[in-house]
Protein backbone atom coordinates (compact mmCIF):
# COMPACT_ATOMS: atom_id res chain seq x y z
CA UNK A 1 0.00 0.00 0.00
CA UNK A 2 1.44 3.32 -1.07
CA UNK A 3 1.43 6.30 1.23
CA UNK A 4 -0.68 9.35 0.25
CA UNK A 5 2.53 11.30 -0.16
CA UNK A 6 3.95 8.73 -2.55
CA UNK A 7 0.70 8.63 -4.55
CA UNK A 8 0.84 12.41 -4.88
CA UNK A 9 4.27 12.27 -6.31
CA UNK A 10 3.03 10.07 -9.17
CA UNK A 11 -0.02 12.22 -9.97
CA UNK A 12 1.92 14.57 -12.23
CA UNK A 13 1.88 16.69 -14.28
CA UNK A 14 -0.75 19.39 -13.59
CA UNK A 15 -1.35 21.73 -16.51
CA UNK A 16 -1.53 25.40 -15.59
CA UNK A 17 -4.36 26.33 -18.07
CA UNK A 18 -6.41 23.40 -16.74
CA UNK A 19 -6.04 24.64 -13.19
CA UNK A 20 -7.04 28.14 -14.23
CA UNK A 21 -10.13 26.76 -15.99
CA UNK A 22 -11.20 24.85 -12.85
CA UNK A 23 -10.72 27.99 -10.77
CA UNK A 24 -12.78 30.11 -13.19
CA UNK A 25 -15.57 27.52 -13.24
CA UNK A 26 -15.65 27.57 -9.47
CA UNK A 27 -15.74 31.37 -9.27
CA UNK A 28 -18.50 31.46 -11.91
CA UNK A 29 -20.61 29.05 -9.83
CA UNK A 30 -20.01 31.15 -6.70
CA UNK A 31 -21.11 34.29 -8.58
CA UNK A 32 -24.21 32.65 -10.06
CA UNK A 33 -25.15 31.17 -6.70
CA UNK A 34 -24.72 34.53 -4.96
CA UNK A 35 -26.95 36.24 -7.55
CA UNK A 36 -29.54 33.48 -7.04
CA UNK A 37 -29.46 33.95 -3.28
CA UNK A 38 -29.88 37.70 -3.71
CA UNK A 39 -32.88 37.34 -6.06
CA UNK A 40 -34.57 34.48 -4.19
CA UNK A 41 -34.37 36.27 -0.87
CA UNK A 42 -36.34 39.18 -2.42
CA UNK A 43 -39.02 36.97 -4.09
CA UNK A 44 -41.46 36.48 -1.17
CA UNK A 45 -44.31 38.90 -0.54
CA UNK A 46 -46.70 39.05 2.39
CA UNK A 47 -50.46 39.13 1.74
CA UNK A 48 -51.98 42.62 1.49
CA UNK A 49 -54.42 42.92 4.39
CA UNK A 50 -57.17 45.52 4.56
CA UNK A 51 -55.85 48.22 6.88
CA UNK A 52 -57.12 51.59 8.09
CA UNK A 53 -60.53 53.01 7.35
CA UNK A 54 -62.44 52.05 4.18
CA UNK A 55 -63.33 54.78 1.70
CA UNK A 56 -66.16 56.89 3.11
CA UNK A 57 -69.49 55.92 1.58
CA UNK A 58 -72.61 57.60 2.98
CA UNK A 59 -75.73 55.61 3.81
CA UNK A 60 -77.94 55.97 0.71
CA UNK A 61 -81.40 57.53 0.86
CA UNK A 62 -84.53 56.63 -1.02
CA UNK A 63 -87.86 54.87 -0.96
CA UNK A 64 -87.47 51.70 1.02
CA UNK A 65 -88.45 48.47 -0.69
CA UNK A 66 -91.43 46.75 0.95
CA UNK A 67 -91.25 43.19 2.25
CA UNK A 68 -92.36 41.02 -0.68
CA UNK A 69 -95.64 39.19 -0.11
CA UNK A 70 -96.04 35.58 -1.23
CA UNK A 71 -98.97 36.46 -3.49
CA UNK A 72 -97.45 39.38 -5.43
CA UNK A 73 -94.23 37.84 -6.62
CA UNK A 74 -92.19 38.89 -9.61
CA UNK A 75 -92.83 42.63 -9.63
CA UNK A 76 -89.50 43.88 -8.36
CA UNK A 77 -87.31 46.26 -10.39
CA UNK A 78 -83.89 45.01 -11.48
CA UNK A 79 -80.88 45.94 -9.31
CA UNK A 80 -78.62 48.74 -10.54
CA UNK A 81 -76.21 49.63 -7.72
CA UNK A 82 -74.71 48.11 -4.58
CA UNK A 83 -73.80 50.26 -1.57
CA UNK A 84 -72.08 48.87 1.57
CA UNK A 85 -70.95 51.79 3.79
CA UNK A 86 -69.25 49.57 6.39
CA UNK A 87 -66.65 48.34 3.86
CA UNK A 88 -66.60 51.38 1.57
CA UNK A 89 -68.33 49.74 -1.40
CA UNK A 90 -70.31 51.80 -3.90
CA UNK A 91 -70.59 50.26 -7.34
CA UNK A 92 -72.90 49.77 -10.27
CA UNK A 93 -74.07 46.21 -10.83
CA UNK A 94 -73.36 44.40 -14.08
CA UNK A 95 -75.33 41.35 -15.21
CA UNK A 96 -73.81 37.91 -14.74
CA UNK A 97 -74.73 34.55 -16.21
CA UNK A 98 -72.81 31.30 -16.37
CA UNK A 99 -69.65 30.51 -18.33
CA UNK A 100 -69.48 27.91 -21.12
CA UNK A 101 -68.16 25.45 -18.53
CA UNK A 102 -71.16 26.06 -16.26
CA UNK A 103 -69.42 28.12 -13.58
CA UNK A 104 -70.64 31.47 -12.28
CA UNK A 105 -69.65 34.26 -14.67
CA UNK A 106 -67.69 36.99 -12.90
CA UNK A 107 -67.44 40.72 -13.76
CA UNK A 108 -64.84 41.63 -16.41
CA UNK A 109 -63.77 44.61 -14.29
CA UNK A 110 -62.52 44.04 -10.75
CA UNK A 111 -63.93 47.37 -9.52
CA UNK A 112 -67.60 46.49 -10.12
CA UNK A 113 -69.86 43.78 -8.73
CA UNK A 114 -72.46 41.84 -10.68
CA UNK A 115 -75.91 40.40 -10.05
CA UNK A 116 -76.39 36.79 -11.13
CA UNK A 117 -79.40 37.11 -13.47
CA UNK A 118 -80.57 33.52 -12.93
CA UNK A 119 -81.06 34.30 -9.23
CA UNK A 120 -84.07 36.22 -7.86
CA UNK A 121 -83.87 40.01 -7.98
CA UNK A 122 -82.68 41.54 -4.70
CA UNK A 123 -85.75 42.33 -2.61
CA UNK A 124 -87.93 39.68 -4.26
CA UNK A 125 -88.63 36.42 -2.43
CA UNK A 126 -85.60 34.16 -2.69
CA UNK A 127 -81.81 34.08 -2.60
CA UNK A 128 -80.35 36.86 -4.78
CA UNK A 129 -76.67 36.45 -5.63
CA UNK A 130 -74.10 39.23 -6.17
CA UNK A 131 -70.42 38.46 -6.93
CA UNK A 132 -67.33 40.66 -7.06
CA UNK A 133 -63.56 40.31 -7.18
CA UNK A 134 -61.35 40.42 -4.09
CA UNK A 135 -58.44 41.64 -6.21
CA UNK A 136 -56.84 42.06 -9.64
CA UNK A 137 -53.32 40.94 -10.54
CA UNK A 138 -52.09 44.21 -9.05
CA UNK A 139 -54.22 45.20 -6.08
CA UNK A 140 -57.57 45.26 -4.28
CA UNK A 141 -60.91 44.71 -6.03
CA UNK A 142 -64.45 45.79 -5.15
CA UNK A 143 -64.94 43.05 -2.52
CA UNK A 144 -61.42 43.29 -0.99
CA UNK A 145 -62.97 44.07 2.40
CA UNK A 146 -65.94 41.69 2.18
CA UNK A 147 -64.19 39.30 4.57
CA UNK A 148 -64.37 42.03 7.26
CA UNK A 149 -68.19 42.21 7.23
CA UNK A 150 -69.94 41.37 10.49
CA UNK A 151 -73.45 40.17 11.29
CA UNK A 152 -75.82 43.11 11.72
CA UNK A 153 -74.15 45.36 9.13
CA UNK A 154 -76.29 46.75 6.33
CA UNK A 155 -76.14 46.16 2.59
CA UNK A 156 -78.10 48.46 0.24
CA UNK A 157 -79.23 47.55 -3.27
CA UNK A 158 -80.61 50.36 -5.44
CA UNK A 159 -83.17 49.21 -8.01
CA UNK A 160 -84.06 50.60 -11.43
CA UNK A 161 -87.17 52.31 -9.99
CA UNK A 162 -85.01 54.18 -7.47
CA UNK A 163 -86.13 52.11 -4.49
CA UNK A 164 -83.67 50.69 -1.96
CA UNK A 165 -83.68 47.11 -0.76
CA UNK A 166 -81.97 47.12 2.65
CA UNK A 167 -80.39 43.91 3.89
CA UNK A 168 -78.91 42.95 7.26
CA UNK A 169 -75.93 40.58 7.38
CA UNK A 170 -76.77 37.34 9.22
CA UNK A 171 -73.65 35.25 8.60
CA UNK A 172 -70.31 35.02 6.84
CA UNK A 173 -68.65 31.78 5.83
CA UNK A 174 -65.55 30.67 3.97
CA UNK A 175 -65.82 27.53 1.86
CA UNK A 176 -63.26 25.58 -0.13
CA UNK A 177 -64.27 25.89 -3.80
CA UNK A 178 -63.90 22.13 -4.05
CA UNK A 179 -66.66 21.80 -1.44
CA UNK A 180 -68.82 24.79 -2.36
CA UNK A 181 -72.33 24.54 -0.79
CA UNK A 182 -74.33 25.19 -3.96
CA UNK A 183 -77.69 24.43 -2.33
CA UNK A 184 -77.12 26.84 0.57
CA UNK A 185 -75.98 29.67 -1.69
CA UNK A 186 -78.13 29.27 -4.82
CA UNK A 187 -80.97 27.12 -3.49
CA UNK A 188 -84.49 28.34 -2.66
CA UNK A 189 -85.09 30.70 0.27
CA UNK A 190 -88.55 31.58 1.68
CA UNK A 191 -87.79 35.28 2.31
CA UNK A 192 -85.93 38.03 0.44
CA UNK A 193 -82.26 37.24 1.02
CA UNK A 194 -78.92 38.20 -0.47
CA UNK A 195 -75.60 36.38 -0.85
CA UNK A 196 -72.39 38.31 -1.60
CA UNK A 197 -69.58 36.18 -3.04
CA UNK A 198 -65.86 36.78 -3.44
CA UNK A 199 -62.61 34.83 -3.18
CA UNK A 200 -60.53 34.15 -0.11
CA UNK A 201 -58.11 31.86 1.65
CA UNK A 202 -54.95 30.56 0.07
CA UNK A 203 -53.99 31.69 -3.43
CA UNK A 204 -52.72 28.88 -5.64
CA UNK A 205 -50.18 30.56 -7.94
CA UNK A 206 -49.95 27.36 -10.00
CA UNK A 207 -53.60 27.65 -11.14
CA UNK A 208 -53.97 31.43 -10.65
CA UNK A 209 -57.01 30.92 -8.41
CA UNK A 210 -57.87 31.28 -4.75
CA UNK A 211 -58.81 27.96 -3.16
CA UNK A 212 -61.81 29.31 -1.24
CA UNK A 213 -64.83 31.58 -1.51
CA UNK A 214 -66.07 33.99 1.14
CA UNK A 215 -69.89 34.21 1.21
CA UNK A 216 -71.83 36.84 3.18
CA UNK A 217 -75.49 35.99 3.89
CA UNK A 218 -78.00 38.81 4.43
CA UNK A 219 -81.75 39.13 4.81
CA UNK A 220 -84.12 41.98 3.88
CA UNK A 221 -84.89 44.22 6.83
CA UNK A 222 -88.47 44.95 7.74
Amino acid sequence: MTSPVGRHRHLRPVSRPGAVAVLLCGLLAVGAGACGVAIASQSGRPAVRPAGQPKFVPVPRGKRAPVPQPADSGNVARPTRLIIPSIGVKTRLVRLGVTSSGALQVPDAVVVAGWYTFSPRPGAIGSAVIAGHIDSFLGPGVFFRLRLMKPGERVYVRRADGSLAIFRVTAKHMYLKSRFPTADVYGPAPTAQLRLITCGGTFDSATGHYLSNVVVFATLTR
Binding site: L23, G33, V37, A40, S101, F137, P151, T191, T202, Y210
Partner: protein, 304 residues
Amino acid sequence: MRPTRKIARQARLASVLALALGLIGFAGPAAFASAAGSASAAGSASVTAPAASRVGWLRLAHLSPNTPAVDVYLYSFGDPSAMIVLKHVTYGTVSAYQAVPVGDYTVAMRGAGAPASSKPVLSSTVDVAAGKAYTVAGLGPASGLRLQVLKDRLTTPRGKALVRVIQASLQQHRVTVTAGSTVIARNLAFSSVTSYQTVTPGTWNVHADGQTSSASDRIQLAAGTIHTLVILDDPGHLAIDNLVDAAGSRVLPDGGAATGFGGTAGVPASSLVPWLVTVAAGLLVSAAGIARLRRSRRAALHAR
Protein backbone atom coordinates in the same frame (compact mmCIF):
# COMPACT_ATOMS: atom_id res chain seq x y z
CA MET B 1 7.65 20.08 5.68
CA ARG B 2 5.18 17.77 3.90
CA PRO B 3 2.98 17.02 6.93
CA THR B 4 2.66 20.77 7.55
CA ARG B 5 1.55 21.38 3.94
CA LYS B 6 -1.00 18.59 4.25
CA ILE B 7 -2.36 20.13 7.43
CA ALA B 8 -2.49 23.53 5.72
CA ARG B 9 -4.51 22.07 2.81
CA GLN B 10 -6.92 20.38 5.17
CA ALA B 11 -7.32 23.65 7.04
CA ARG B 12 -8.06 25.48 3.81
CA LEU B 13 -10.66 22.88 2.83
CA ALA B 14 -12.21 23.10 6.28
CA SER B 15 -12.42 26.88 6.11
CA VAL B 16 -14.13 26.72 2.67
CA LEU B 17 -16.66 24.23 4.03
CA ALA B 18 -17.17 26.34 7.13
CA LEU B 19 -17.76 29.41 4.94
CA ALA B 20 -20.32 27.53 2.82
CA LEU B 21 -22.10 26.15 5.86
CA GLY B 22 -22.00 29.58 7.44
CA LEU B 23 -23.75 31.06 4.38
CA ILE B 24 -26.48 28.41 4.59
CA GLY B 25 -26.73 28.98 8.32
CA PHE B 26 -27.10 32.72 7.82
CA ALA B 27 -29.61 32.73 4.96
CA GLY B 28 -31.54 29.59 5.90
CA PRO B 29 -33.43 31.06 8.86
CA ALA B 30 -34.34 34.14 6.78
CA ALA B 31 -35.94 31.94 4.10
CA PHE B 32 -37.72 29.94 6.76
CA ALA B 33 -39.03 33.07 8.44
CA SER B 34 -40.45 34.51 5.21
CA ALA B 35 -42.18 31.21 4.36
CA ALA B 36 -43.69 31.04 7.84
CA GLY B 37 -44.85 34.65 7.51
CA SER B 38 -46.83 34.00 4.35
CA ALA B 39 -48.31 30.82 5.80
CA SER B 40 -49.64 32.64 8.84
CA ALA B 41 -51.09 35.38 6.63
CA ALA B 42 -53.04 32.75 4.68
CA GLY B 43 -54.16 31.05 7.88
CA SER B 44 -55.59 34.16 9.49
CA ALA B 45 -57.94 34.66 6.50
CA SER B 46 -60.02 31.63 7.50
CA VAL B 47 -62.67 33.44 9.48
CA THR B 48 -66.17 32.13 10.05
CA ALA B 49 -68.88 34.23 11.60
CA PRO B 50 -71.36 32.63 14.00
CA ALA B 51 -73.96 30.84 11.95
CA ALA B 52 -77.43 32.32 11.84
CA SER B 53 -78.92 28.97 10.97
CA ARG B 54 -80.82 28.56 14.24
CA VAL B 55 -83.94 30.11 12.76
CA GLY B 56 -86.97 28.76 10.96
CA TRP B 57 -89.81 30.51 9.15
CA LEU B 58 -93.53 30.81 9.89
CA ARG B 59 -96.37 32.35 7.92
CA LEU B 60 -100.03 32.62 8.80
CA ALA B 61 -103.03 32.19 6.52
CA HIS B 62 -106.78 32.67 6.72
CA LEU B 63 -108.35 30.24 4.24
CA SER B 64 -111.82 29.65 5.69
CA PRO B 65 -114.35 31.23 3.30
CA ASN B 66 -117.23 31.89 5.68
CA THR B 67 -115.15 32.83 8.72
CA PRO B 68 -115.08 36.59 9.36
CA ALA B 69 -111.85 38.55 9.78
CA VAL B 70 -109.63 37.46 12.66
CA ASP B 71 -106.67 38.75 14.64
CA VAL B 72 -103.82 36.23 14.60
CA TYR B 73 -101.38 36.08 17.51
CA LEU B 74 -98.03 34.29 17.58
CA TYR B 75 -96.60 33.42 21.01
CA SER B 76 -93.21 31.98 21.78
CA PHE B 77 -93.87 29.01 24.09
CA GLY B 78 -94.13 30.15 27.73
CA ASP B 79 -94.17 33.86 26.93
CA PRO B 80 -97.61 35.40 27.57
CA SER B 81 -96.93 38.49 25.44
CA ALA B 82 -97.44 38.01 21.72
CA MET B 83 -94.38 38.06 19.48
CA ILE B 84 -96.39 38.97 16.40
CA VAL B 85 -99.97 40.18 16.04
CA LEU B 86 -101.67 40.36 12.64
CA LYS B 87 -104.82 42.48 12.87
CA HIS B 88 -107.98 42.03 10.81
CA VAL B 89 -106.83 39.14 8.67
CA THR B 90 -109.49 38.36 6.10
CA TYR B 91 -110.24 35.24 4.04
CA GLY B 92 -107.57 34.66 1.38
CA THR B 93 -104.78 36.46 3.23
CA VAL B 94 -101.39 34.74 3.54
CA SER B 95 -98.67 36.64 5.42
CA ALA B 96 -95.02 36.83 4.42
CA TYR B 97 -92.73 34.39 6.19
CA GLN B 98 -91.35 35.61 9.49
CA ALA B 99 -87.95 34.32 10.59
CA VAL B 100 -88.24 33.03 14.17
CA PRO B 101 -85.76 31.35 16.51
CA VAL B 102 -85.99 27.57 16.64
CA GLY B 103 -88.51 26.40 19.26
CA ASP B 104 -92.18 25.88 20.14
CA TYR B 105 -94.81 28.47 19.26
CA THR B 106 -98.52 28.90 19.80
CA VAL B 107 -100.71 30.44 17.10
CA ALA B 108 -104.02 31.82 18.37
CA MET B 109 -106.97 33.30 16.47
CA ARG B 110 -109.42 35.79 17.98
CA GLY B 111 -112.29 37.60 16.34
CA ALA B 112 -111.10 40.85 14.75
CA GLY B 113 -110.93 43.51 17.46
CA ALA B 114 -111.33 41.09 20.37
CA PRO B 115 -109.11 41.98 23.36
CA ALA B 116 -105.76 40.21 23.49
CA SER B 117 -106.70 38.93 26.92
CA SER B 118 -109.86 37.22 25.65
CA LYS B 119 -110.04 33.48 25.14
CA PRO B 120 -108.94 32.62 21.60
CA VAL B 121 -111.44 31.09 19.19
CA LEU B 122 -108.80 28.64 18.10
CA SER B 123 -105.17 27.88 18.87
CA SER B 124 -102.49 25.46 17.77
CA THR B 125 -98.86 24.76 18.53
CA VAL B 126 -96.02 24.50 16.06
CA ASP B 127 -92.49 23.24 16.65
CA VAL B 128 -90.14 25.25 14.44
CA ALA B 129 -86.97 23.41 13.42
CA ALA B 130 -83.78 25.08 12.12
CA GLY B 131 -83.96 26.01 8.46
CA LYS B 132 -87.56 24.76 8.04
CA ALA B 133 -90.63 26.70 6.92
CA TYR B 134 -94.26 26.31 8.01
CA THR B 135 -97.62 27.70 7.00
CA VAL B 136 -100.20 27.80 9.81
CA ALA B 137 -103.55 28.02 8.03
CA GLY B 138 -107.09 28.45 9.29
CA LEU B 139 -108.94 25.89 7.15
CA GLY B 140 -112.44 24.48 6.85
CA PRO B 141 -115.89 26.02 7.23
CA ALA B 142 -116.61 28.50 10.04
CA SER B 143 -118.52 25.77 11.87
CA GLY B 144 -115.55 23.41 11.74
CA LEU B 145 -112.64 25.84 11.62
CA ARG B 146 -109.26 24.32 12.39
CA LEU B 147 -105.66 25.54 12.43
CA GLN B 148 -103.48 23.29 10.34
CA VAL B 149 -99.67 23.36 10.35
CA LEU B 150 -98.33 22.72 6.84
CA LYS B 151 -94.67 21.84 6.34
CA ASP B 152 -93.33 23.87 3.43
CA ARG B 153 -90.53 22.53 1.24
CA LEU B 154 -87.35 24.57 0.69
CA THR B 155 -85.52 22.42 -1.85
CA THR B 156 -86.34 21.42 -5.40
CA PRO B 157 -84.94 18.65 -7.57
CA ARG B 158 -82.23 20.22 -9.78
CA GLY B 159 -83.76 22.14 -12.69
CA LYS B 160 -87.36 21.56 -11.55
CA ALA B 161 -90.15 23.52 -9.89
CA LEU B 162 -92.42 22.30 -7.10
CA VAL B 163 -96.11 23.10 -6.75
CA ARG B 164 -98.92 22.08 -4.40
CA VAL B 165 -102.57 23.04 -4.08
CA ILE B 166 -104.68 24.18 -1.13
CA GLN B 167 -108.39 23.81 -1.89
CA ALA B 168 -110.08 26.66 0.00
CA SER B 169 -113.25 27.02 -2.05
CA LEU B 170 -116.49 26.22 -0.27
CA GLN B 171 -118.63 26.97 -3.35
CA GLN B 172 -116.93 24.24 -5.37
CA HIS B 173 -116.50 21.30 -3.04
CA ARG B 174 -114.19 19.41 -5.39
CA VAL B 175 -111.69 21.03 -7.72
CA THR B 176 -109.28 19.58 -10.29
CA VAL B 177 -106.17 21.66 -11.00
CA THR B 178 -104.01 21.24 -14.10
CA ALA B 179 -100.84 22.96 -15.35
CA GLY B 180 -100.69 22.43 -19.10
CA SER B 181 -101.51 18.75 -19.46
CA THR B 182 -100.19 17.85 -16.00
CA VAL B 183 -102.81 17.17 -13.36
CA ILE B 184 -101.60 18.69 -10.08
CA ALA B 185 -104.74 17.92 -8.05
CA ARG B 186 -107.67 15.70 -9.04
CA ASN B 187 -111.06 16.20 -7.39
CA LEU B 188 -109.42 17.81 -4.39
CA ALA B 189 -111.92 18.21 -1.55
CA PHE B 190 -112.57 21.49 0.24
CA SER B 191 -110.02 22.32 2.98
CA SER B 192 -107.53 19.69 1.86
CA VAL B 193 -103.93 20.14 0.72
CA THR B 194 -101.88 18.15 -1.81
CA SER B 195 -98.25 17.25 -1.35
CA TYR B 196 -95.75 19.05 -3.56
CA GLN B 197 -95.56 17.86 -7.18
CA THR B 198 -92.45 18.16 -9.33
CA VAL B 199 -93.16 20.05 -12.54
CA THR B 200 -91.13 20.97 -15.61
CA PRO B 201 -90.31 24.67 -15.40
CA GLY B 202 -92.12 27.05 -17.69
CA THR B 203 -95.06 29.41 -17.97
CA TRP B 204 -98.17 27.29 -17.75
CA ASN B 205 -101.89 27.77 -18.34
CA VAL B 206 -103.21 26.68 -14.97
CA HIS B 207 -106.86 25.63 -14.78
CA ALA B 208 -108.96 25.05 -11.69
CA ASP B 209 -112.21 23.28 -12.53
CA GLY B 210 -115.04 22.85 -10.03
CA GLN B 211 -118.45 21.31 -10.70
CA THR B 212 -120.08 24.56 -11.80
CA SER B 213 -117.30 27.09 -12.00
CA SER B 214 -113.70 27.32 -13.13
CA ALA B 215 -110.72 29.67 -13.21
CA SER B 216 -107.53 29.89 -15.24
CA ASP B 217 -104.34 31.87 -15.07
CA ARG B 218 -100.94 31.98 -16.76
CA ILE B 219 -98.41 31.13 -14.07
CA GLN B 220 -94.64 31.03 -14.36
CA LEU B 221 -93.13 28.11 -12.49
CA ALA B 222 -89.37 28.70 -12.77
CA ALA B 223 -86.75 26.07 -12.00
CA GLY B 224 -85.61 26.31 -8.40
CA THR B 225 -88.89 27.84 -7.21
CA ILE B 226 -91.59 26.40 -4.95
CA HIS B 227 -95.24 27.46 -5.25
CA THR B 228 -98.53 26.93 -3.47
CA LEU B 229 -101.68 27.49 -5.54
CA VAL B 230 -104.62 28.42 -3.34
CA ILE B 231 -108.08 27.90 -4.83
CA LEU B 232 -110.33 30.62 -3.43
CA ASP B 233 -113.95 31.66 -3.61
CA ASP B 234 -114.21 35.03 -5.29
CA PRO B 235 -117.74 36.41 -5.12
CA GLY B 236 -119.54 34.28 -7.67
CA HIS B 237 -116.61 32.37 -9.09
CA LEU B 238 -113.26 30.66 -8.43
CA ALA B 239 -109.87 32.34 -8.19
CA ILE B 240 -106.31 30.99 -8.20
CA ASP B 241 -103.83 32.62 -5.84
CA ASN B 242 -100.22 31.87 -6.76
CA LEU B 243 -98.02 31.95 -3.63
CA VAL B 244 -94.24 31.84 -3.87
CA ASP B 245 -93.11 29.62 -1.01
CA ALA B 246 -89.42 29.94 -1.86
CA ALA B 247 -87.20 30.89 -4.78
CA GLY B 248 -83.63 30.16 -5.75
CA SER B 249 -81.50 30.35 -8.87
CA ARG B 250 -83.03 28.96 -12.08
CA VAL B 251 -79.60 27.70 -13.13
CA LEU B 252 -77.18 26.38 -10.50
CA PRO B 253 -73.56 27.28 -11.34
CA ASP B 254 -70.98 24.53 -10.90
CA GLY B 255 -68.60 24.95 -7.97
CA GLY B 256 -67.29 28.22 -6.58
CA ALA B 257 -66.69 31.62 -8.13
CA ALA B 258 -63.40 32.71 -9.75
CA THR B 259 -63.47 36.14 -8.14
CA GLY B 260 -59.79 36.91 -7.64
CA PHE B 261 -56.46 37.19 -9.46
CA GLY B 262 -54.13 37.07 -6.45
CA GLY B 263 -52.86 40.67 -6.52
CA THR B 264 -53.30 40.95 -2.75
CA ALA B 265 -52.38 37.35 -1.88
CA GLY B 266 -49.16 36.50 -0.10
CA VAL B 267 -46.43 34.85 -2.19
CA PRO B 268 -44.05 32.53 -0.34
CA ALA B 269 -40.33 33.24 -0.90
CA SER B 270 -38.67 30.77 -3.27
CA SER B 271 -36.13 28.48 -1.62
CA LEU B 272 -32.55 29.66 -1.13
CA VAL B 273 -31.18 26.13 -0.72
CA PRO B 274 -30.33 25.37 -4.40
CA TRP B 275 -28.49 28.68 -4.70
CA LEU B 276 -26.57 28.16 -1.48
CA VAL B 277 -25.58 24.69 -2.68
CA THR B 278 -24.34 26.29 -5.92
CA VAL B 279 -22.25 28.79 -3.92
CA ALA B 280 -20.79 26.02 -1.75
CA ALA B 281 -20.00 23.84 -4.76
CA GLY B 282 -18.42 26.82 -6.50
CA LEU B 283 -16.23 27.51 -3.48
CA LEU B 284 -15.08 23.88 -3.39
CA VAL B 285 -14.28 23.87 -7.11
CA SER B 286 -12.46 27.20 -6.72
CA ALA B 287 -10.44 25.76 -3.86
CA ALA B 288 -9.55 22.77 -6.00
CA GLY B 289 -8.53 25.12 -8.83
CA ILE B 290 -6.25 27.10 -6.48
CA ALA B 291 -4.64 23.91 -5.23
CA ARG B 292 -3.96 22.73 -8.79
CA LEU B 293 -2.58 26.13 -9.71
CA ARG B 294 -0.10 25.98 -6.80
CA ARG B 295 0.87 22.46 -7.67
CA SER B 296 1.54 23.39 -11.30
CA ARG B 297 3.66 26.35 -10.17
CA ARG B 298 5.65 24.05 -7.88
CA ALA B 299 6.13 21.60 -10.72
CA ALA B 300 7.38 24.42 -12.91
CA LEU B 301 9.85 25.47 -10.18
CA HIS B 302 11.11 21.87 -9.82
CA ALA B 303 11.54 21.56 -13.59
CA ARG B 304 13.69 24.70 -13.76
